[in-house]
């Protein structure tokens, strides 16, 4: 082992990352999937809800129709719940000798990335749907023919959460842990 010294062929990021257990990455990914999705849904609901209630003072007829905007925001939270449950079924316990095997590391990273994707895509989707829903309520209060037209815009917004769920589920299929029997 004497002779020329190579100060690391591998990158220092890799040497730092390989010390972190894949269980850490998986757990944080699953938590972000549900936590940040629910944050987006809640944010959208309070933006829509507060505008809806304020606009309904002078136009109480809009209340029941515009609850659909609140339901669109809630759907974002449901996406987060679905993906978090799917991801936690992908979480397996591997023998201690294999916890840092390449396949385990990859599974941990896949669950983490899937959780980030779903969480943050649902966060922005919830925000978007909330803002549009608030405008929808305000304009519906003034002119009832506008409700359906602005709802079309809201549907475009809610497609973003679906993109996140699609990619998250595709990526979670990569989360295969090493087999239990070596």
């Amino acid at each position: 082992m004497s002779g020329s010294v190579m100060v690391g062929d591998s990158s220092s990021w890799s040497r730092a990352l390989v010390k972190i257990s894949p269980y850490t990455f998986s757990a944080v990914g699953i938590a972000i999937a549900i936590g940040v999705s629910v944050l987006g849904a809640a944010w959208g609901i309070y933006i829509t809800g507060s505008s809806l209630i304020g606009a309904a003072i002078k136009a109480p007829r809009i209340t029941s129709k515009n609850l659909i905007s609140v339901i669109f925001c809630e759907a974002v939270a449901i996406y987060g719940v679905i993906v978090a449950i799917i991801l936690q079924t992908k979480l397996e316990s591997v023998p201690a000798s294999q916890i840092y095997a390449p396949e385990s590391l990859r599974a941990g990273y896949a669950i983490f990335a899937s959780g980030i994707i779903v969480g943050f895509a649902n966060l922005v989707c919830g925000l978007c749907v909330g803002i549009i829903g608030s405008s929808c309520a305000l304009s519906d209060a003034q002119n009832s023919s506008l409700f359906v037209k602005i709802l079309v815009i809201e549907i475009f917004g809610s497609a973003l959460g679906l993109f996140g769920v699609i990619v998250g589920i595709i990526m979670s299929a990569q989360a295969t842990w090493p087999a239990k029997t070596v």
Binding site: S14, P102, I116, V124, S135, K149, A159, F163
Partner: protein
């Protein structure tokens, strides 16, 4: 065993007396298996362990001889550790999927942020102007559709990347991981910026179109320029992710 090394001799890189005092508790009969050969751990003189006390100057020299800065590089453990890690098979490629997956995440998340901003900002404009001119609302949904396309660009790159990470079928090196990371970041951040542009232009455009119908074509032209930014990001992202299969030409 040839590789059994007493822990106290492993402290070549830590000559501080207090640490050695604390670690001397471990030296009583404890063995520490290290994955490197013994000849690198030859310590010239160890004042604490050898037990004899010299005059202060000699003792200082003995302590200084333990400082890794004074050792030749072939005897410094801190310089040898990367080789030992590689000798045991660690080349960093095990962590390459982290960067690949993070690239897919960046592609989708940032594009969705841009799409959401564009949709929300122009949607508020449409709703505001629709109160006065309801017949123009369906025409004014164009900025919203263009913002939605940004999310699709992000989805494309995210799916390309995540199906390209398959270490069982094809080896996945750090080169591939970083290529995918840059591809995802390129597409995602470009989509974020384009979404912001589309949102603000769409909001101003639909409100102005309600007051002056001749402005519709101008609004569409500006929106097309803004959408082209996201397209540049998609093109660069696709080019970069196609590089990911080209590592290790040996």
């Amino acid at each position: 065993m040839n590789n059994d090394v007493f822990f106290r001799y492993g402290v070549v890189c830590e000559p501080r007396p207090i640490t050695l005092v604390l670690l001397s508790f471990y030296s009583r009969g404890a063995t520490w298996k290290l994955p490197f050969p013994d000849h690198l751990l030859t310590v010239p003189y160890h004042p604490k362990i050898d037990g004899t006390r010299l005059c202060d100057k000699e003792e200082g020299k003995a302590w200084r001889s333990l400082n890794p800065r004074n050792l030749p590089s072939s005897k410094r453990i801190c310089d040898q550790i990367p080789q030992f890690l590689m000798a045991s098979g660690f080349s960093g490629d095990e962590t390459a999927p982290f960067f690949g997956f993070l690239g897919a995440a960046a592609a989708l998340v940032f594009s969705c942020m841009g799409a959401a901003y564009g949709t929300a900002k122009s949607g508020v404009g449409v709703a505001s102007m629709g109160v006065m001119r309801p017949e123009l609302v369906m025409k004014s949904i164009v900025p919203v559709v263009m913002a939605g396309v940004l999310g699709i660009y992000g989805l494309i790159i995210a799916v390309i990347i995540s199906t390209g990470i398959n270490p069982k079928a094809k080896s996945y090196y750090l080169f591939d991981g970083y290529a995918h990371l840059s591809s995802g970041l390129a597409c995602g951040l470009a989509g974020l910026s384009a979404g912001m542009a589309i949102g603000i232009v769409g909001d101003a455009g639909v409100r102005a179109n309600a007051q002056q119908p001749k402005l519709f074509v101008g609004m569409i032209l500006i929106l097309i320029f803004a959408e082209a930014l996201a397209l540049y990001g998609l093109i660069v992202g696709i080019i970069l992710s196609s590089r990911a299969g080209q590592s290790r030409a040996d």
